[in-house]
């Protein structure tokens, strides 16, 4: 069972590591940091690397390719130093975050504030439930249409989904408030 103090220490170490990594612009130091994080990931190394790459690839890939093409057009060479440094830094910072998510209980780490913990637990639990239902709405619309749904109908569906979302949120807030009152949470 992880202790709150340990989780808080992990949170602070992760924050310090992120800030330190963001200052680094030397490929050797970044590679050494990446090596350490990969070692620390242990058995989860391939799963975490895959997640980190998937989370960053769209933005990093687009910027890297565009900059490489622009640099080549301007100077007839590739910006190898920039490509290596920035891509190593992005991967290192993403891996640090995914390792932190994997190894730390954020709810315990933020346990220094009882109200912040409540807020986080309530917000996250409701967010996941709402997201799942919205996905079902989207699948429902697709599965009930024989032909491609038109722009007007897709707007109406999106607006109805947004309306439902706030209806559910209001009801959730009401239910949570009553549950908290009945348990004397703030007394």
């Amino acid at each position: 069972m992880p202790s709150a103090a340990l989780e808080r220490a992990k949170f602070l170490v992760w924050l310090a590591a992120i800030v330190a990594a963001s200052w680094l612009s030397d490929a050797a130091w970044l590679a050494a940091g990446l090596g350490l994080v990969l070692l620390a990931a242990g058995r989860a190394v391939f799963r975490l690397t895959r997640r980190a790459l998937l989370a960053t690839l769209a933005f990093t890939g687009t910027v890297s390719l565009t900059y490489a093409a622009w640099f080549w057009w301007q100077q007839d060479a590739l910006p190898l130093d920039w490509l290596v440094t920035v891509n190593l830094r992005v991967l290192l910072m993403a891996l640090l975050t995914f390792l932190f998510i994997e190894r730390t209980n954020l709810f315990l780490a933020l346990g220094f504030s009882r109200r912040l913990s409540f807020l986080l637990v309530l917000a996250v639990s409701q967010s996941l439930a709402l997201r799942r239902t919205l996905d079902e709405f989207r699948q429902g619309l697709d599965s009930r249409a024989l032909v491609r749904v038109g722009l007007r109908d897709r707007y109406r569906a999106a607006a109805r989904a947004a309306g439902w979302l706030f209806d559910r949120a209001l009801a959730n807030a009401h239910e949570s408030a009553r549950a908290m009152q009945s348990r004397g949470m703030f007394r």
Binding site: I18, A123, L151, A158, G163, L170, A173, H174
Partner: protein, 216 residues
């Protein structure tokens, strides 16, 4: 929203964290002066709704879609501080629990989208409401998407100026304003039309809900 860590220089994100922390403190005081069994679940529910709102597809012509930000909708219907705090929590949850977007880009997103976007959207909504609810909501949705895009383009384009090596090679995001401004502003000016339309429809739906809750 999906700028990963590593592209924003610490010379920018650390001062931005300072500014955001000040606003978070003010926002917390404003809406959480009485953070109790009524206001705490309300903020959590609004955060969850703002989080889930980003999963609603903004329909675009040709069968494609983009993601709704909901800045204009939240600001117009619930106020600046509620929108700012809810959106900041959403960015924090996305960065800390799902690894989506970076923790170093969090203050930029919170200030640009959550604060400036919400402030502009609320201001536009209140000042144009006399003309009619529909144009006011539409403009709030449009500005709530467009203004943050301007600010994020300015912040990204400033990176080569604030962090480059002796040879002038950028250390973080490599493109200047001549690239970031047109690359972000042209598509967002158009996407804002869709966000505006959805803000009108969503705003009407929320108004109907409020009527129903008032009558219950």
């Amino acid at each position: 929203m999906h700028i990963p860590d590593g592209f924003i220089a610490p010379q920018m994100y650390l001062p931005l964290y300072g500014a955001a922390a000040g606003l978070w403190a003010v926002g917390a005081r404003r809406i959480a002066r009485d953070l109790d069994e009524t206001t705490l679940p309300w903020l959590a529910a609004l955060t969850a709704a703002a989080f889930a709102l980003s999963f609603i597809a903004l329909p675009l012509p040709g069968g494609t879609s983009a993601h709704v930000t909901g800045v204009g909708l939240l600001a117009a219907c619930f106020g600046i501080w509620q929108a700012f705090m809810a959106l900041s929590l959403v960015f924090a949850i996305q960065a800390l629990l799902f690894g989506d977007g970076g923790v170093t880009t969090l203050p930029l997103n919170a200030l640009a989208m959550g604060f400036a976007g919400a402030l502009a959207a609320r201001g536009v909504f209140l000042s144009t409401r006399r003309v009619g609810q529909t144009p006011a909501l539409f403009l709030a949705g449009w500005i709530g998407l467009f203004l943050p895009a301007v600010l994020i383009a300015l912040a990204l384009g400033a990176q080569p100026l604030i962090a480059a090596n002796e040879a002038g090679t950028p250390r973080y995001f490599p493109f200047g304003w001549s690239v970031t401004l047109p690359a972000l502003l042209i598509p967002h000016a158009l996407l804002g039309l869709g966000e505006g339309a959805l803000t009108v429809l969503g705003g009407r739906a929320i108004e109907r809900l409020r009527e129903r809750y008032r009558n219950d």
